[in-house]
């Protein structure tokens, strides 16, 4: 059920990318997609009432949360940051060159 909600979130982001005309709104759509992917990955490793997998001498770990998705998602967040910076920088330059954020008016390349 919760997993389906992630996919719904992904579809919302995808909708924003495909249907919105404003460049900035498209970038926000991509960010939403990224969050849904990250959330999905985190939940893959989550256990109900789980605890952090920190091993102390003499303790036994039961019902721990899988730490690998968390480290993976940390990396994806950083990559997402770089992508967002690049896209926003491109959007600023697009505005400088074309004088608009409307993607339907920026169409010199076709054929």
């Amino acid at each position: 059920m919760v997993y389906n909600l992630c996919l719904v979130l992904f579809c919302i982001g995808l909708y924003a990318v495909l249907r919105k005309r404003n460049v900035i709104k498209m970038i926000i759509g991509i960010i939403i997609c990224e969050y849904s992917a990250n959330l999905f990955f985190i939940m893959m490793g989550y256990r109900l009432n789980g605890r952090a997998p920190i091993m102390a001498p003499g303790s036994t770990i039961e019902n721990m949360v899988d730490p690998l998705p968390q480290s993976v998602v940390l990396t994806t967040i950083v990559i997402g940051l770089a992508t967002t910076i690049l896209l926003v920088a491109l959007a600023i330059r697009l505005y400088e060159k074309h004088g608009t954020f409307d993607i339907t008016k920026i169409k010199e390349l076709k054929g």
């Binding site: 460049v23 770089a82 054929g111």
Partner: protein, 501 residues
């Protein structure tokens, strides 16, 4: 094995070079160019050494930080990886030489070389890693650097193309992340060999794996620009600086798209008849669409970009057949297309450099003023179009034979038709650029500088020699081991031998 200690250099050297250039490039004017040429050239020699070692001793590994699989991130170099590394660095070192003259058109060339080396680091990471998530990270390094390079001209069109490329590639990456998440959820491992083992032990594919396959095919399809996901390619390729167009078309879409897709489909998930028929359909669709759209183009580089779509279709089609002949044909075409299309993009860059335009209508008769460029372009076009002594002819012939052998007569006929169209549009383009009367405005055009000429001549010779790679004695050295990796399929699970618990 001492050679296996060299494997991390393929990622480390370009990264170090890139950072050095970023730090010192503004002060030391000659450093960016020197490093930009030395690193790919040196790594090409290294790739040959590694390739020989793989041929003699089988796959090489390096375990990052000493963690044995399935823990830790292994670097694996088997026949297919060696094939890709040699292709990538063989072409990239000539592109680097070409860049020395070409990049002087731009300001801040040090940035250009930094990004160029990052692209190389990402690509060698993608082909060498044995970890699924690691592959994604390298893929994003390449995509981001390539996207910045597409925007390098910072003009109206470059910005528009780079934005499209950035958005579609990021979405493709997100699809891949979802695919990885599904696979991780169902196998509890990210190591590709371990994943193959878990999936093979489980037998029939469950729904999560099926869904993951769909996500991965869409994601890698976006990176490889297979037809329904190709919208970015015809914009991005013409807008990038010519050497980067050559990298994008010849190497990046192949490493990020084709290699990653087929490594996962064959070696991890296992090829099934359904997947094979999907690949055949996508390949045939790309082949036809690219060829038909290329005919009507008036921009030299845009025409070549559509041609790339069509040739990518051939590669997907050939490897997607899954038969030994098909795989050999597909990989052989991958090599020929890498060299030939890079050469054609370099030629178009030379024409652009000399005349300042890429419009086919305005060009003409340049063979009198630019003999080297014109002959090099002819060699590249003949290889891509499939004229007998050149490599491209043999690889296309193999793919068509393989399709007939597998009983796909309609697809084979379609491939022949697309081949004829390829010949048509390339002849048209070259005729309009190099043949016919020389317009008055191009009377004073000069041949391009020597480094660009040398790079084009070298690639043209490789095009011509490409056909030799299929001779029985040589075939086993280069393409044979690569195709064997794909043919063995999920036997990839046993690649680490006893070390895998």
């Amino acid at each position: 094995m001492t050679v296996s200690k060299l494997l991390p250099l393929f990622v480390a050297m370009p990264l170090t070079g890139g950072f050095l250039i970023a730090l010192l490039g503004r002060r030391l004017k000659s450093l960016p160019e020197a490093l930009g040429m030395l690193v790919p050239g040196g790594l090409f020699a290294l790739a040959l050494v590694v390739g020989r070692a793989v041929l003699a001793h089988g796959p090489l590994f390096h375990f990052m930080g000493g963690w044995k699989p399935p823990l830790g991130i292994p670097m694996v170099c088997d026949g297919l990886t060696a094939f890709m590394l040699i292709t990538v660095y063989g072409v990239a070192s000539w592109i680097a030489l070409y860049s020395v003259s070409y990049a002087r058109m731009y300001t801040s060339t040090w940035l250009y070389y930094t990004l160029f080396l990052f692209v190389l680091a990402g690509m060698s990471g993608v082909v060498m890693t044995g970890d699924l998530f690691d592959m994604f990270v390298y893929m994003e390094i390449t995509s981001l650097s390539a996207c910045t390079l597409v925007a390098f001209g910072t003009e109206r069109r470059e910005m528009e193309a780079a934005f499209k490329y950035g958005v579609i590639n990021t979405l493709g990456g997100l699809f891949i992340i979802f695919g990885i998440a599904f696979l991780y959820g169902s196998c509890s491992t990210l190591n590709m060999a371990d994943m193959a083992k878990v999936l093979a032990e489980r037998g029939a594919a469950n729904k999560a794996v099926l869904l993951a396959t769909v996500f991965l095919v869409v994601g890698f399809g976006m990176k490889a620009a297979i037809v329904p996901f190709h919208a970015w390619l015809p914009d991005a390729h013409p807008s990038a600086p010519a050497p980067i167009s050559a990298m994008l078309s010849g190497l990046i879409i192949k490493c990020l798209g084709i290699y990653a897709l087929f490594r996962l489909l064959f070696c991890v998930l296992g090829m099934t008849p359904v997947l094979s028929s999907v690949m055949l359909f996508l390949g045939a669709l790309s082949m036809g669409t690219g060829a038909f759209l290329a005919i009507g183009q008036q921009d030299f580089k845009r025409l070549l970009a559509y041609s790339s779509l069509s040739q990518i279709g051939y590669i997907v089609f050939g490897i997607g057949l899954g038969t030994p002949l098909g795989i050999v044909g597909g990989l052989f075409h991958l090599f020929n297309h890498s060299v030939g299309k890079s050469l054609l993009f370099l030629t178009s860059g030379a024409v652009d450099y000399a005349t300042g335009t890429r419009d086919l209508e305005q060009l003409g008769g340049l063979s009198k003023r630019m003999p080297v460029t014109s002959r090099a372009g002819m060699a590249g076009a003949m290889s891509i179009a499939g004229i007998p002594p050149f490599g491209g002819f043999w690889s296309k012939l193999l793919i068509i034979f393989a399709a007939v052998q597998a009983g796909h007569f309609a697809y084979a006929a379609w491939a022949v038709l697309a081949g004829v169209l390829t010949l048509g549009y390339l002849t048209k383009a070259l005729k309009q650029v190099f043949q016919g009367p020389l317009p008055d405005r191009w009377r004073a055009v000069e041949e391009v500088p020597a480094p660009m000429q040398i790079a084009m001549i070298a690639l043209a010779l490789v095009c011509l020699g490409g056909g030799l790679l299929f001779l029985p004695g040589i075939r086993g050295l280069f393409i044979g081991p690569a195709s064997k990796v794909l043919l063995n399929g999920t036997a990839y699970a046993k690649i680490f031998g006893g070390t895998l618990g």
